[in-house]
Amino acid sequence: MASVHESLYFNPMMTNGVVHANVFGIKDWVTPYKISVLALLYEMTAKVSLPKRRRLNELILPLLQGPDLSFGQLVRTVEEYCPQTASSVVLRLHDMADGELRDMEQFFSTLPFTAFDTEAYKTSVVGLFMRHMLLAYNKLSFSQVYKLYKSLQQYYHSHYAKPLSTLNFDGSDMDLTSTEDTVGDRMDKDELDTPLHESELRSDNAPSKGPLSQKQAEYFLARQAYLLKNDENKALKPAALQEELNNMLKFNPDFAEAHYLNYLNSMRVQDIFLSAHSLLHYFDRLILSGNEGKSNGDEGYGRSLRYAALNLASLHCRFGHYQQADLALQEAIRIAQESNDHVCLQHCLSWLYTLEQMKGSDSTVLTEDSVKMAAHFCLRYLASLGIQSLVQQGATQGKTAHKLMDALKDTDILHWKHSLSELIEISLAQTTSIWRMYGKSTMSAQQAQLLLNMSSLEPVNFGVHQNNTEAFAVALCHLAELHAEQGLYSAVSEIHQHLKTQFPPHTQHAKLWMLCDLKIQFDRHMNEGKYHLAEPLIVAMSALDKTQGLYRKALVLKALNQSTEAYKVLQRLQVHCDKTKCTELTIRVMLSTAELHWESSGFSTALPLLLQALALARQHHLQSLASETILHLAFTQMLSLQLMLGVPEQALNFLHEAIEPVLAHGSVMDKGRALLLTARCQMAVAGFKPNRQGHTDLKMLTLAVDTLNDATTYFSKLNCTERLREIHHLQAQLYHALGQKSQCNKSAMLFRLLDQELQTPALPVSMRL
């Protein structure tokens, strides 16, 4: 089960993924855009019919509060509401831009418009805006007024230079690529060298754009940060974003939020140096602004220090530097303790247990403490996160299922109440994983579908649903594996295609689907008996997950009959599993070891191993593994029976216990294997011996034929030729005993065809399940 708990980076400046960049004490500045809005307001006083006027009034607020738009965008927006007004706005601006400075001055002298008196009361939004603008304009010095006029001209003409059709209004069009070179004669900026060169060439034929307003920059940052969090694919490419940020920082090195975005961006490409650098830089800057901006200066400033250390810890955690993360975390805890910041302490604690968990040590006690304290301080998010983490630990430690499910259900109620959608997603993904672990494939699939079909509770900003969290990745991976188990490979490949686009290879959660993809491919090759194809996959798998790779290596070695090597690997794995307490793998290793023992006919050594595995599986409620163990046990019994002339009925009875869950929840492979085994037991019960006439129970034999037919359908689904060959062989013998010549011939022919195709000699009395 993948670790679902991966706490989100906590940033005091960020709520709902939007960076609030208002730290510079923005003052209102007159910009060309604002002049156009003023012109719009002015035109609205003219003869406009009442319904149109109403629609325009709706438009005013977003225009006033939004970022600066280009003139084309503005005109298009207004046109949608009232084409007539739009054209008069254009006309008015044309008068100003193509006229003289005097025209603009005259325009401002009419402010605030008297005709507005009724609607634009002094303290209304519009009234305030107009008065603000007037004040700001009056404050300008002569040269500034001239400059404003110049930029107004540029603003107006930049729209005119382009034909209208190329202006696409979707907000994403905002291009920050600034072509300027500035005061900056910084020496060490070699890396900026080439991009600047290009952008400069571009600018030679395009008129340079007007200055970038504070709001535009903020909007850009907020948008990119939101996209990075929610749907990375829609954000700018890492390199492009970096370039934009560099540009922005060059013009305004004080824009601290850009550093934070830079940090997030570097995290995307796993660049530890740059991300650490940007993070520290951001907090250095934040400390200043915190001190300046707030009246209770010391508090804001100490707070950012604590979170700085905490963020540093999370950074190291993410890059897998556990020792460093530990040190940084200790520091954060110490500072938080000194200043009695309980909320920060709780965040630290939740990171602490996450870190312990990542290091692979038991952190149940810590987590429990964290939950208790978080509940005490009413930190719902942290408390629920802690409970989820506890559930995960409980599941691996074999806690009873109903307790886990109860805990999840209770927290779910809380989540829905407070609409913590992120946690709801995690909880669903967790249930998917737990059901899957218990071997209930249908339940698991159902939960996964529930998550994928759920519509998010988060407000949809910028037209993006959040669907790139780890929860989604986990659910999708489970879904892919579940489909693969049923042999629906085309569906699997579709899911993978989706995963690949949703979580590109360089992203944080990409490892999940990579491993899942490799597992599925491996299993497929193994089922089809193409061991040479499976082998190279092991290397890739080991890179992603060492233990899984090792286990798969043992499987391949076993399949290639290199028993001693396989045994050695399995022994190593056993030791490792005992250390890490990974129950699922432990049982699987035991089963594989038992299979190795069969080959050396060590049935008596295999038995205790299998019994131990069964006990473990039952203890941890791992139903699928339990039934698989039972299959193994039955097989052992049957094989040893053949040698020791025991009672085959018992094996058959034993099988009945397992066959039901296998048929209900098991994978196609498991079903086929179970049926094949049943058929062989039935044959044994019937007293069937090939090449020897004796008393045989013909009724039982026909039953065995039917069972084999069922098994054939399963195996052919997976294209599992080796086993099909075996089945055809058995069928031919059975038909022969039953005296059905034509059927017998048919089976024999099928066997012959497959045998020619396979070329490898069949195993003696097939020694495998």
């Binding site: 404003l148 500035t182 004669d185 070699d190 200055p211 504070q214 920059a217 540093l312 110490r334």
Partner: protein, 572 residues
């Protein structure tokens, strides 16, 4: 060396070259290079009358442009750049062309500076730019591809490229410029600003001229390769430039960089006598006086400089240092701020202001100042170090590691960063790392003589008595060999530990020696006496069984045991 001597053999020839280049630069308004060359020429013996080089000959084109050029040059000198450019537009001589382009460039720069004052908003502030640059670049690059540029225009082209942040191209053009006109020091200086590493320096193909030696020496100082720089300057002095104030000041700065304070101070004194009205480099001088705590000298210097010119960055820095030394940190910060107003890219002032804020315990302002310093120059190790110190004061040892590491990267052989790193590691209980840092700090030459003591204490904590004793031993040797008394010296601690150590290892002679030495220090006297008493007791017991018991024992000392130390030679 021989090659160098031969290069400098003909000082008269060099002087001739200098005089001609001074003339050329003056004609083109390149005042800084003219100043540098004149200073250098002044340091050489005067030429006999008939050897003074004549003014360069007049071409047909020059004659045609003469009137326009003279007019434009006078406008240029009065900083009326646009006017100068207007009258030069139709000239065709190379000299006029340079002046034309140069005045356009300067006019752009001037406007840019003026614009910064009234901008239209906070974000726009950084966007003010020299509008002329792009046009200049287009025109110059056209001429460049047609290879119509001479040394001076190439230099201008390089400057334009650098201002446009096209650094790679700029380096190439500057190299071309110095090949075309090796004597133009301005081009060398611009190039030196673009060279970031030794590798890059080696990869450049530089013209074979005597001026190259000056450049290399300058470059070595910039790249913190002080030893090489000093060597170069020494050989330049030997070659005949001994009177040059430029070289003296450069050597002094180099000594300042390796913190050889006394040498640097004496050089600065010499400089002051030779050139009493000099303001350049005086901020470095004041730093030295500050470090030495020489209040009266600093005060004298400050007053003197204020009389010369109070609106110079250097003057403000000196006054800032003066106030800082008098612990008037608010005033100090004020003066550093004034220095920054005069030149916002003045690196030293940012860092010094950071230090002042640190003194005032205004950590956030200090962080701001240091961050600004880093923005101006990422390679400013003092700012990184200062940031580290700030966070250390805020009790964030892990956080400050990053900054110290940065500082250490920039100055790998500076013990202060290493000691600071070690202390941070120690605070994080990373003893292994801490030990490495301290040992390294000692090996690169510890300035403050603290590394060994700290290392010894660390060993002591970890119960590694042999190592601890060895470190204390080295520490004592170190302290006494440097001659002067240091305030924080903890010789007594070292002696106390060594005494106990020898006593435990049954080396009674050494132990008693240490104990006796202990008695010289107030804080360790009692312990010293007690140890002496213990030793004499044990000796009494040993003497009775047999004397030769002692012999095998001392032979059995562990391999890493410290060799007994001859303490008699030390005078405490």
């Amino acid at each position: 060396m021989a090659a160098l001597c031969s290069e400098f053999g003909d000082l008269a020839e060099i002087k001739k070259q200098l005089i001609s280049v001074i003339y050329l630069c003056k004609e083109r308004g390149l005042q800084h290079t003219a100043k540098w060359a004149s200073e250098l020429a002044f340091a050489l013996d005067p030429l006999p009358k008939d050897e003074v080089p004549p003014a360069p000959e007049f071409t047909e084109e020059d004659a045609k442009d003469l009137d326009a050029l003279t007019l434009a040059k006078s406008y240029f000198d009065l900083k009326e750049y646009d006017r100068a450019a207007y009258f030069l537009k139709d000239c065709c001589s190379k000299k006029a062309y340079f002046l034309y382009m140069y005045s356009r460039y300067l006019s752009g720069e001037k406007k840019k500076d003026d614009e910064t004052v009234d901008s239209l908003g906070p974000l726009e502030k950084g966007q003010v730019r020299n509008e002329a640059l792009r046009e200049l670049r287009v025109e110059l690059s056209k001429k460049h591809t047609a290879s119509e540029l001479d040394g001076f225009t190439l230099y201008l082209y390089g400057v334009v490229l650098r201002k446009l942040d096209l650094l790679k191209e700029a380096v190439e053009v500057f190299v071309e410029a110095i090949h075309a006109l090796p004597l133009h020091w301005g081009a060398w200086l611009e190039l030196s600003n673009l060279v970031t590493s030794t590798e890059m320096l080696k990869s450049l193909s530089l013209p074979d001229s005597w001026i190259r030696e000056f450049f290399m020496a300058h470059m070595y100082t910039e790249l913190q390769m002080i030893k090489e720089a000093l060597q170069k300057y020494q050989s330049l002095i030997e070659a005949g430039f001994s009177k040059s104030t430029y070289i003296i000041s450069q050597i002094a700065v180099a000594y300042h960089n390796i913190r050889d304070i006394d040498q640097a101070l004496s050089l600065f004194y010499e400089l002051r006598t030779q050139d009493p009205f000099r303001i350049d480099n005086m901020d470095t001088f004041s730093n030295l006086l500050y470090v030495k705590g020489m209040k009266p000298e600093l005060s004298f210097l400050a007053h003197n400089l204020v009389e010369i010119d109070k609106y110079r960055v250097e003057t403000c820095c000196v006054i800032g240092n003066y106030y800082s030394l008098r612990s008037q940190h608010e005033k100090a910060a004020l003066y550093f701020q004034r220095a920054l107003k005069l030149n916002p890219r003045c690196l030293g002032a940012w860092t010094l202001m950071g230090h002042e804020y640190m003194e005032m315990k205004n950590t956030s302002a200090a962080i701001q100042a240091y961050r600004h310093a880093i923005e101006v120059n990422k390679r400013d190790y003092r700012a990184w170090y200062g940031l580290g110190q700030t966070y250390e004061i805020l009790k964030m040892p892990f956080y400050c590691l990053y900054y110290y590491r940065k500082a250490h990267q920039l100055r790998p052989n500076d013990s202060r960063m290493l000691v600071a790193l070690g202390e941070s590691y120690e605070r994080l209980s990373q003893q292994v790392e801490a030990k490495k840092c301290y040992w390294r700090a000692y090996s690169v030459g510890d300035v403050e003589k603290m590394a060994l003591l700290k290392l010894a204490k660390l060993h002591e904590q970890l119960n590694e008595s042999d190592d601890a004793a060895q470190c204390y031993m080295l520490y004592i040797q170190d302290i006494f060999s440097c001659g002067e008394q240091l305030e924080h010296a903890e010789v007594s601690t070292a002696l106390r530990y060594l005494g106990q150590y020898y006593f435990k290892n049954k080396l009674y002679d050494e132990a008693s020696l240490c104990a006796q030495r202990c008695c010289d220090y107030n804080d360790a006297r009692e312990e010293g006496k007690a140890l002496l008493r213990q030793i004499s007791q044990v000796r009494d017991q040993i003497e009775t069984p047999s004397a030769d018991l002692f012999v095998p024992l001392s032979n059995n000392t562990p391999v890493r045991r410290v060799s007994p130390l001859n303490l008699i030679s030390f005078t405490p």
